[in-house]
Amino acid sequence: MTFTRRPGFALSTGITLLGTSLMILLPLAALALKAVHAKAGTFATVLSNPRVQTACLFSLGAALAAALFNLVWGTLIAWVLVRYPFPGRRLADALVDLPFALPTAVAGLTLSSLYGPKGWIGHLLPFPVVYNRTGVVLALSFVSLPFMVRSLQPVLEELPREMEEAATCLGASRWATLRRVVLPQLLPAILSGFALSFARAVGEYGSVVFVSGNLPFKTEIAPLLIVVKLEQYDYDGAVALAVIMLGISLLVLAGIHLLHRRFGEARRHV
């Protein structure tokens, strides 16, 4: 095989690798190194702690619930924004990015005051929303919603209307057209939106601490537990917990990636 010279290859690759290393790989390596140097048995101790187990499971579960909620809600928003011209659409479109821009602590405060027992919305609801698990899921879906909408929007915009018209002329009902023609083509984008939403939700800390009430064994999330451990100068424990969370997140993302590939493959071989 001959190696063709590609102009700018060495320089651009060098810059990219340097940036990636400094910003992503180095911190992760430091974390791993710290974990290696932790006292023997720290992992076992941390993992066997029921409070840690509950927090980790709750973190994952809540993130998953938020991502699932966004799957439906975000898809709907993207659809409406792309397909229906309504007055104020551009404003609504810009508002979708708000959770990106808003400091998460502000989001948390806003949500807790709105949905709190005395809040504008909270006092109308027959069930409590904040300071329990619902509140956590609400906050997580708020901060991760833009990922779902923004992953889906460009794909929806590119989807030719003619394809749906073709299905309609062939006698397909609106529902059959959606299920057989539109959704299969959106699936990869929906999966990436879901994965990004999930990843964002797992890492969220700022907004959750304001709405969860931070009750151990109930609404405590893993990132909060890490902060608690740090405050108690339990660095080894914090690192162990961080590594565990990192591992779980990587596993879930890898799983979604596989699913993504499976669908891509399946489409080719049916």
Partner: protein, 330 residues
């Protein structure tokens, strides 16, 4: 199935897209809607399909009003310029789609669907392509699949919107001959939208020429060519020389209805600016002293007889002139 279009009007954003359009499409015929872009031909086709609703007027199928019926229930086969195949489905799945989405009570069994798809793939000469994805096909193949998909549900009307518009010239020519043969066999009432007059003339039994939201003339391709009803039709269909204003309109002559001579008594003086003699006809461009340009086609024997060359002074005379009223401006 016969289609009757009655007084269709449609406006969009202050612009008139269809202006009281009426058209009869007899059962089993192949009608071409011919016109420049923006003349309303695609909108007319989409109204017939039920994809657009008219502001006024109605579409009758076998004398029955359809304007209120949903497009799903109209039994039309629609073929789009850009194919609109389902990219995530194989060729077979695309063709079978219309059969598989039928309500359970009307849906044929799996074996019947399979046999029908086999038959259609054979018809479009793509038997061995069933498992391919649309992205793995050429443009001409994709359009044939789109046609097979539309035919699968045995539509009562086949509507083709610029079906060959995105293909290169050679494939276009092959496909339109194939379409004509297909129509001769299947006898499905077909409406073809095109801006290519050659395509309309070659394929259709009847051509309807559209301009500015109206139908200007409907007729046999030959009548439209020989006896254009308006100045627009004369200029749009085939080449036409606009000669001069006369009482009641403008005088026109086809390039092959003109003759040249070297004798000043035989016509107006003109100069040959361009002479192309490739093929059975020689094509000449002439400049009149007024600055007007004329196109003249001569047979090869006539050209040799006159011994013409570029730059030469000649005398031009039309053999056959048609005077047409109309406000067509170039």
């Amino acid at each position: 199935m016969s289609i009757e279009v009655r007084n269709l009007s449609k406006r969009l954003g202050g612009k008139t897209i269809l202006d009281r359009v009426s058209l009869d499409i007899p059962e089993g015929s192949l009608v071409a809607l011919l016109g420049p872009s923006g003349s309303g031909k695609t909108t007319l086709l989409r109204v017939i399909a039920g994809l657009e609703t008219p502001d006024e007027g109605e579409v009758l199928v076998r004398g029955e009003a359809t304007t209120v019926r949903r497009p799903q229930d109209r039994h039309v086969g629609f073929v789009f310029q850009h194919y609109a195949l389902f990219p995530h489905m194989s060729v077979r799945q695309n063709v079978a789609f219309g059969l598989e989405v039928k309500p359970r009570t009307q849906r044929p069994s799996r074996d019947v669907i399979r046999a029908r798809v086999d038959e259609l793939l054979q018809l479009i000469q793509m038997d061995s392509y069933g498992q391919r994805l649309p992205s793995e096909l050429s443009g001409g193949q994709r359009q044939r699949v789109a046609l097979a998909r539309a035919l699968a549900v045995e539509p009562s009307v086949l509507l083709l919107d610029e079906p060959f518009g995105a293909l290169d010239a050679q494939v276009r020519a092959e496909l339109r001959q194939w379409l004509r043969r297909l129509h001769d066999v299947s006898k499905v009432t077909t409406v073809l939208v095109t801006h290519d007059q050659e395509e309309a003339m070659e394929v259709a039994d009847t051509v309807a020429v559209m301009n500015r939201a109206r139908i200007e003339q409907v007729g046999h391709p030959r009548d439209i060519y020989d006896h254009p009803a308006t100045a627009f039709v004369a200029r749009f269909v085939g080449q036409m020389n606009q000669l001069h204003q006369v009482e009641g309109g403008t005088a026109f002559a086809r390039p092959h209805d003109m003759d040249l001579s070297l004798d000043p008594a035989d016509g107006e003086p003109a100069r040959i600016t361009k002479l192309v003699s490739v093929g059975p006809l020689a094509r000449l461009r002439l400049d009149l002293p007024s600055g007007q340009e004329l196109e003249v086609h001569l047979t090869r024997p006539r050209l040799e007889e006159l011994q013409l060359a570029e730059g030469q002074q000649v005398y031009v005379r039309p053999n056959r002139v048609q005077v047409l009223a109309g406000d067509y401006i170039i």
